[in-house]
Symmetry: C3
Subunit: 307 residues, 3 copies
């Protein structure tokens, strides 16, 4: 040990006690991000056997492997459920409670799988670049993000604290898509490319909805944000809506009517009726000749020729 | 084993058979995402020796290490090529076929390296924040994304199914840049920051092109998407073009003329001639005083003071 | 060994020597991305004990664990500092120099912790979806990105080459937020969701600033970029400003006055006074009925009904 580190350690330990931000075994004992990440990986293996593994599954081993995986998920998930449930103020976690939550969760997996199968179908039908369902499951990151969100949503509906958000954040880190576990999402859901997509806690999305990268279904930012906790804050997107890249749709009262198409980079804070087409008028786009005619001169900043 | 899991396992196994989404050893036996990820890491080590390793390379060991790495890449890649080629309907994979594909791929690595060296040069010259080529190779994520895309593009040109997309998706997960292996990309290519960039399958990009984060070269979304498979769907960007953050350029017929600069957050669905400057007219931007004058009152949503 | 690989290896080795892009032990011996990544993980563990570990910390072990971690960070960081300092032209790295830099860095950790505690507070107060400080530390990726940036900024101020950028790029890959170590960032800083955020090297951000995903504080791209090295290139954002998703603010002279709110998807290249509200006029938004009335017909591209 470097004896010179003494005063620094003293300062840090004081900071832990005074400023907080420390997870002590004796108190909260929060869910472990690492363990939750492992649970998420195992759930993807249960949902799509052979796609997230080092090797494919032999047909004769299918039941046995499914049993082993469910047992492992079950063991780990009960442990994390217990920690998460205990963080709720004044609530203990009798073992039966985490077992009950875990079992109710697992029983929903076949329904989650059915919804995901419709998502795979929507992606294949909607994207000419997709060669088949296999490619969608192997190489479309939205499927990981939506699979974990559909699982986390089950726990969110069971009113489990913290754990669902740690799950969707695991998927966010891997895919760039931040889909809150509270969001209600219909079947045949497809997000193409997906990086930068944000779907807020109280958003409601119909069936056959297609989003592109960078779409946000978001809330207004208001002073005293915590007063809005539990209220509806995010928009509704009805069935068969397509929203192009980079568009932000904001507000609890904003409803995008069924069958509508919203163009790219729109900032929409109002409702639109069914079958609408929404975009910024192109006459507002300025296309001017640059002063310099030499392409090799490199790019000028847009303001150079203004005014 | 928890005997209560029996009915759930039965349901899941039935779902595997009925709904699909399972990779069985007896049938397709798809490429393994994990193995492909390892191949990508090894390719980066071959392309930039000493930058992606725990320790730098001793000059006297350079040939030996290169030989070892190529042998390992070769072994793993042949295995995955074999699996990928077999997925094509009615086609087997004689060992010689994967060997031939693998060898043709490896022979292109020096040319890929030369293109990447021009990309490093473009990044250094284009970004005042870069201290030198070393910093670009160490810390600019676009170089990983473009290196893997340039490799995957070789396999795409060889008409290898699935594998190229799993490679670029590996890079997408690491960098947030989704560059389809089909895209044709010229030399001296630079993407600054890069998160959220999407470049579609049939995009064509000239030389000395500079993109910023969130730029999309994308296709129109049409009903019956699979009917467009194989057709040109994405734009052309000619030489010496700069496109700022968040801009979406859409459509097969859209050509951005050489030497043009496109501003941020533009949604462009038409061609522009060479040396154009494109942006939204600033007079459309509204800058209003807020009702509240107290900065500490926090942010109001934009609609609050409208109307 | 496959004897056929000989000519390829010869070509690659020639490319290493001629084209460059190789990190040799005998010359530069750059910082290792892997080791820097490990240092970043350990720093997060020191800053928020128990949140990034497999298990929580026992109160009685707190001092001992802090000591062990600081000793490990110290050992690894001195090694990487030595390599980074040696890359500066004509400068050796006497052991005392890296020890001095390392110690000066560690001594700033309590101050970094205090700033991060204010960021946690800002996130909790600003986001109705947050259940408490624990959720912010466990599941809000901006905190990782800002924690690493605040650490890297200390080394940047010490004029350490390369290392700070490798650190922030490690965080960029994990979170999608690219915050340059040079940026000056005030307290109570909150980035919600955060994917695609870019903050440039010379940006200056006040206190109580809130950014959403996809916000860029960026520089103009000019021919001969390297001539601008060291100059101010990025905007200033004063206290209590909120900037919505996808907005790009550009230029060294651009100042966003205190208390202002900037709407989503704005491209702003001019200053705005304090307490401004900035957005694109909504009358420019076109909301039209689609030709097709059948929602099941799928999405048409926006241009279909124009003209």
């Amino acid at each position: 040990m470097d004896p010179g580190l003494g005063p620094l350690i003293e300062k840090l330990v004081r900071s832990y006690h005074e400023v907080g931000g420390i997870n002590l075994a004796e108190s909260a004992n929060l869910p472990s991000k690492r363990t939750v990440g492992r649970i998420c990986e195992e759930l993807l293996q249960v949902l799509f056997p052979g796609y997230h593994d080092a090797s494919p599954i032999a047909a004769s081993q299918l039941e046995l492997i499914t049993l082993q995986r469910l047992s492992e998920v079950s063991l780990r998930l009960e442990g994390e459920l217990c920690k998460a449930l205990r963080t709720r103020s004044g609530e203990g976690c009798p073992e039966t409670m985490s077992t009950t939550h875990c079992r109710a969760f697992l029983d929903r997996l076949p329904a989650v799988r059915a919804a995901l199968a419709s998502d795979v179908q929507a992606a294949f039908e909607g994207d000419p670049a997709a060669s088949g369902a296999d490619e969608v499951i192997l190489a479309y990151p939205f499927l990981e993000a939506v699979a974990i969100q559909r699982c986390a949503h089950v726990l969110y509906q069971q009113n489990v604290p913290l754990l669902p958000r740690v799950m969707t954040e695991w998927a966010h880190a891997r895919t760039g898509m931040d889909i809150h576990p509270g969001a209600v999402i219909g079947d045949h859901f497809f997000i193409d490319h997906g990086t930068g997509v944000v779907i807020g806690e109280t958003a409601v999305i119909g069936s056959h909805v297609k989003l592109y990268q960078g779409v946000s279904l978001t809330a207004r930012s208001l002073a005293g944000g915590q007063q809005l906790r539990g209220q509806r804050r995010h928009p509704t997107v009805e069935d068969h809506v397509t929203i192009y890249a980079g568009t932000t749709i904001m507000g609890a009262d904003t409803v995008i009517g069924a069958g509508s198409t919203i163009g790219a980079n729109v900032f929409l804070t109002q409702s639109v009726p069914a079958n609408s087409l929404v975009y910024y008028e192109e006459t507002q786009l300025r296309i001017l000749p640059k002063k310099s005619r030499d392409p090799a001169a490199g790019a000028d900043a847009p303001t150079v020729v203004r005014g």
